[in-house]
Amino acid sequence: MAMFSQNPTMNGPNYSFSDTPRTKAPEGAREHRFDPYTDNGGSTLAIAGADFTIMAGDTRLTSGYNINSRYHPKVFKIGGTTSDQHDATIALSVVGFAADGEALKERLDAICKMYRYRHGKPMSVKACAQRLSTILYQKRFFPYYAYAILGGLDEEGKGAVYSYDPVGSYEREQCRAGGAAASLIMPFLDNQVNFKNQYIPGSGEGHALQERERKPLSRQEVETLVKDAFDGAVERHIEVGDGLQMMIITKDGIQEVTMPLKKD
């Protein structure tokens, strides 16, 4: 057949479309230019107390300079028996790419519901936290672009906050800020919750200087702290504002509060 070839670059008859030699790409490979991610702005915050946890987030949803919605909650109750989550004991906050955040929330909630169905009891925060890490890591090579924080009460009834990166690294912490204004809020929290850089006046010079003793904050103090943190973030970050959503998790369940933030 090669004798009929009229194309010196191709070593063959070169008349049938399907006969063309091509560079072989792996099966199922796709070429794309589509960017599957966006950043929808917003910020979240969680603080653990002695017998409560407060989860908070603003309710603005942005894309670029547009405000898509002024009320789009970022904090969700997880693992209740019904879809209104009236008896939920765990809360999850997500920021980053809103669609991924939502998908993540629904995955975790479905898993909690299956757990309850199979075991006849709700999932503990510890177990839920571990599972969330697994969910995130399962998508290690096409990650959920979402910064998640999980909050609840541990086996001893103490406030528990678990924070995550988008691929599932997690740790339990006293407090954590996430999202657009995390870098604005976190240092404030370090100072106000963990008393970083606070020393007892006149206790010494240099290394002898004694740190202020850490003690868990009261619920009232934490609520004020959260509001102050967000008021500050709203002033300095354009993607944060409109409304503040707060979930207060205690042994009596989850109480949800929303209050206005500046809309500019």
Partner: protein, 264 residues
């Protein structure tokens, strides 16, 4: 041992046009302890007597929640029921995830109907050895469906399946006209009375052996919220049992015949 030559598998018709394997499966349903379901305009109720294999063992569960709006009562092989239950749970969870609503009970029942039917038409498969009463509420109100191993499903106003269920059905037929306007408590009472009809003579309803489940539809004007499907056991059913205990029946007779290992 064989009744005839046409009952070795479920793909062969007998010359009389019967499929014996399917009929035998229906027999397994009749050996399970009795379950009763009734609907009114506002509620749907399931009641059941649980059996224990021996004095020392626990009672086999008869009522299972599937999703927040639907649950099942089983008569027959519990393990087969669990397969169907898991499938229904998966389907209703998936439906809730994609549409954000409760799965219509009819759709759910039709799915297990076709699933069960395929088992009666493939060589090497075995029909489910269990009958179900599926009770639930959706946008169109309360529903009760009967499911049989043959894959037959049918909507019912009130129904009973399982051992000696004919007695219960006779009670239901007699009181059929009353059900539609019944309130929640009345409906449960009717259910328990029907259940008592089917009991062997020296047996009584106790907190150990009685299960009750209720689901309520949301009111048409949007006033009352839907009551999620909930199973009541133990002391929770005590008041209901006592409310129907007044009319004492004469006690005599023997135990139900020892059948194959069902419900225990």
């Amino acid at each position: 041992m064989f009744r005839n030559n046409y009952d070795n598998d479920s793909v062969t018709f007998s010359p009389q046009g019967r499929i014996f394997q399917v009929e035998y499966a229906a027999e397994a349903v009749k050996q399970g302890s009795v379950v009763v379901g009734i609907t009114s305009k506002t509620h749907v109720v399931l009641v059941a007597v649980k059996r224990n294999a021996e004095e020392l063992s626990s009672y086999q569960k008869k009522l299972f929640p599937i999703d927040e709006h639907v649950g099942i009562a089983i008569a027959g092989l519990t393990s087969d029921a669990r397969v169907l239950s898991n499938f229904m749970k998966q389907q209703s969870l998936g439906h809730r995830l994609t549409y954000g609503r409760s799965m219509p009970v009819r759709s759910l029942v039709e799915m297990i109907g076709s699933k069960a039917q395929t088992n009666t038409q493939h060589y090497g498969k075995r029909p489910y050895g269990v009958g179900l009463l599926v009770a639930g509420v959706d946008e169109s109100g309360p529903h009760l469906f009967e499911f049989q191993p043959s894959g037959m499903t049918e909507e019912m106003v009130a129904f009973a399946i399982g051992a000696r269920s004919q007695m219960a059905r006779t009670y239901l037929e007699k009181n059929l006209d009353k059900f539609a306007s019944c309130g929640r408590e009345e409906l449960i009472a009717h259910g328990l009375k029907a259940l008592k009809e089917s009991l062997v003579q020296d047996k009584e309803l106790t907190v150990e052996n009685t299960s009750v489940a209720v689901a309520g539809a949301k009111s048409k004007d949007g006033g009352a919220k839907a009551e999620p499907f909930k199973v009541y056991d133990g002391q929770e059913v005590n008041a209901w049992i006592e409310s129907v205990a007044d009319e004492k029946e004469a006690a005599a007779g023997g135990e139900s015949g020892e059948g194959m290992d069902v419900d225990a």
